[in-house]
């Protein structure tokens, strides 16, 4: 994908290789971008002194000053709308939406302006904005704090939509998103914020690329965000029962990496898409359709989806009934082998 060529080659942050949480990796990505490019500004609700309710911006205001990392009034449409103007004026805004459902007041700005400005100006006015959204459930959060809102963004032409599943990808993909010429909705699976992994900051990632995170010859699980570790656990469990199950981490939901996913599914002939969002008209539905179109003659069974139900996200005491888990994935895998039933 294109990288803005006019980015100043400011002093690159020294590379590190360490085990850290996804939250720390995101924090480091923001800090490195702020250090390297003085057009980057980070703002949102509570991102300053507090460092964000998830501490993703911890220490940034102290290190880079109030002009580079600042608290805004409590208004998401205002945050995103002013980011549009700042981007028009040459800045590279990285904004934080406090929770998935609290980005909805900004949806008009995102859908009608962020996503379309490049198109309306015949490419003359690109908007390099990153909208960070902590998303998804599994954290015992009360209502409006657990939505999987990716479909709204993925359905909007003009937006690039990313969701990492590991600290390494969180770092590298957020760096790539901040270098991207066009707006990126960066969905952070909040359940994985505190999961640890090794991060090498010299490794770069490209937007638009899925990755096979576990090879397998019988079944392919396709997942993103929080569902990736769940899919890996299911693949492990299926392996113990003698089935070789691979996992693809989609990483960029839009544009979608058909090549990687298609190759993986053609090799196994069986696919299950796993995602937390309600399944109807979802990203999982889109993936299943694309796999069906491209892999029909390779398939041994219809593509299955294991998703959230088509109901409002369940309250904490009920969310385990709602969320896709290892057993539901294993159950779906079994249905791909009707003859063995």
């Amino acid at each position: 994908m294109t990288i803005l060529q006019d980015a100043p080659p400011a002093a690159a942050a020294p590379a590190v290789r360490e085990t850290m949480t996804m939250a720390a990796a995101l924090n480091r990505a923001l800090a490195d971008a702020l250090a390297e490019d003085d057009r980057v500004v980070v703002f949102g609700e509570d991102v300053g002194a507090l460092g964000g309710v998830f501490r993703i911006t911890d220490g940034l205001r102290a290190r880079f000053g109030e002009e580079r990392c600042f608290d805004t009034p409590l208004a998401e449409a205002g945050i995103v709308g002013t980011a549009v103007g700042m981007a028009m004026n040459g800045l590279r805004p990285v904004v934080e939406m406090q929770f998935d459902a609290f980005a909805y007041p900004a949806l008009e700005q995102i859908v009608s302006h962020v996503a379309k400005m490049g198109n309306r100006t015949r490419g003359a006015m690109r908007l390099p904005i990153v909208i960070r959204v902590p998303y998804g459930g599994g954290i015992g959060g009360v209502e409006h704090h657990c939505d999987s809102s990716e479909a709204y963004y993925a359905h909007t032409p003009g937006l690039t939509v990313v969701s990492p599943a590991t600290p390494q990808d969180a770092y590298a993909l957020l760096r790539a998103a901040m270098r991207h010429p066009d707006p990126v909705v960066f969905l952070e699976p909040k359940k994985l914020y505190w999961a640890k992994g090794e991060v090498d900051t010299s490794i770069t990632a490209e937007l638009g690329r899925a990755v096979v995170v576990r090879p397998g010859s019988d079944v392919t699980l396709i997942a993103y965000g929080t569902s990736v570790p769940t899919a890996l656990a299911a693949a492990e469990a299926a392996g113990a029962e003698g089935r070789s199950v691979g996992v693809v981490d989609v990483r960029t939901l839009a544009p979608f990496d058909d090549a990687t996913v298609t190759d993986a599914v053609r090799a196994t002939g069986r696919a299950v898409v796993v995602a937390e969002a309600p399944g109807f008209a979802s990203v999982a539905a889109e993936i299943a359709a694309r796999v069906g179109e491209r892999c029909f003659s390779y398939l041994e069974a219809p593509v299955r989806r294991v998703t959230g139900f088509d109901v409002p996200y369940a309250p904490p005491k009920l969310e385990h009934h709602y969320l896709p888990d290892v057993d539901r994935i294993l159950d779906a895998i079994d249905t791909l082998y009707p003859d063995e039933a």
Partner: protein
């Protein structure tokens, strides 16, 4: 720190009545209150503070997913709640536990919601027209305005009151609510609790001028009160609700108060605010000053111990009922999404029930 020359105060932090030009129009409303009514103000403030502490303990013990304390805001809430008439409708934000209690809500419903059993679950028609909490900042201001427009269209002898915070005043929804309320002269009182913080963001990030001035630009009269003065909250809200109910259009009250605790159980205020500020406000505590006032009017120790006992009883009762709560059934996930049977949801519910049943006996 934030009181202005316009702040209406009827009871000083020292617990004495304030007689000045600002208080003069409202004092007669206080004179009409009998001792029992005044004692009820106190009772509710004390009991809810004890409830709040108990709920915080339950959260720390893992019984609740989240707790949202109202510590410090009891004066604004109790006073304004008692100003409403039974037929009025109340749209809270999410911190107005005592307003709900005064309207007849069993506060156990709030516990259930923040334990994670439900998304609200009370029915306004059964809870004195106290509507559901709205966690999305500011949205309820439009719902309340629309409700009040309906009251006006029907010519009902009713008004609506909506609660929101200083942070909420920045949301487009709240400005739009003021536009609609003014345009249709809806019978509504906008009750802003300026507790000085929106999580970690101080109120001066939301507004450079005192917030009671904002509504005047919309054509709505605004007044600022000492929100830690339950008498001011009662009298000023009564006058404004009466004005709204009698066809004089919307009103706006800014109650200056302070969020004495954390934003929620997930928050740590030491990261962003100073001890001196907390000290300043604890010297202006709504309960302490009212206790002094009641004593000066002759309330005896028996009364205060009776209130303390009632507070303990409620805390014990809430605790016991929380421990007795059973996990809601999985079927609740699928309930009430649509009015009519829905083929997609019904099929999922059936699948889910059969799926979970398939595990029965497996672990035995």
């Amino acid at each position: 720190m934030s009181y202005t020359e316009a702040t209406v105060q009827l009871l000083s932090p020292q617990g004495t009545l304030v007689e000045n030009d600002l208080s003069a129009p409202y004092l007669p409303l206080i004179e009409k209150l009998d001792d029992a009514a005044l004692k009820d103000f106190h009772r509710h403030m004390v009991v809810i503070r004890r409830f709040d502490i108990e709920a915080g303990n339950l959260q720390r013990q893992g019984q609740l997913a989240l707790w949202i304390p109202s510590l410090g805001q009891e004066g604004a809430q109790v006073g304004s709640a008692f100003a409403a008439r039974p037929q009025d409708h109340i749209f809270p934000a999410y911190r107005e536990h005592v307003v709900g209690r005064i309207r007849g809500l069993d506060v156990m419903k709030i516990i259930e919601m923040l334990r994670g059993q439900s998304h609200g679950g009370w029915i306004p028609a059964e809870t004195g027209n106290f509507h559901l909490y709205t966690l999305v900042i500011g949205s309820q201001s439009l719902h309340a305005t629309g409700y009040a427009m309906g009251q006006k269209f029907e010519g009902a002898d009713e008004a609506t009151m909506v609660y929101f915070g200083d942070g909420a005043t920045s949301q487009g929804d709240v400005s739009e609510a003021l536009v609609f309320g003014a345009s249709y002269q809806a019978p509504i009182v906008y009750f802003l609790q300026n507790n000085h913080w929106a999580i970690s963001v101080p109120v001066d990030r939301q507004s450079r001028t005192p917030l009671y001035l904002r509504p005047s630009g919309f054509g709505i009269p605004g007044v600022q009160i000492d929100g830690n003065d339950v008498l001011a909250a009662y009298a000023v809200t009564t006058a404004n609700l009466d004005a709204a109910r009698s066809g004089q259009g919307p009103r706006f009250i800014e109650a200056l108060t302070y969020r004495m605790g954390a934003h929620t159980s997930s928050d740590d205020p030491t990261k962003y605010r100073e001890r001196e500020e907390e000290q300043f406000w604890s010297e202006r505590d709504p309960i302490a000053r009212f206790e002094t006032y009641l004593k000066s009017k002759g309330a005896d120790d028996a009364f205060f111990s009776e209130v303390a006992a009632e507070a303990e009883d409620l805390a014990a009762d809430i605790r016991a009922r929380t421990f007795a709560l059973e996990a809601p059934p999985a079927s609740k996930v699928f309930a009430n999404v649509y009015t009519d049977p829905h083929p997609g949801v019904d099929a999922e519910a059936a699948w889910q029930a059969a799926y979970e049943a398939s595990f029965d006996g497996e672990s035995a």
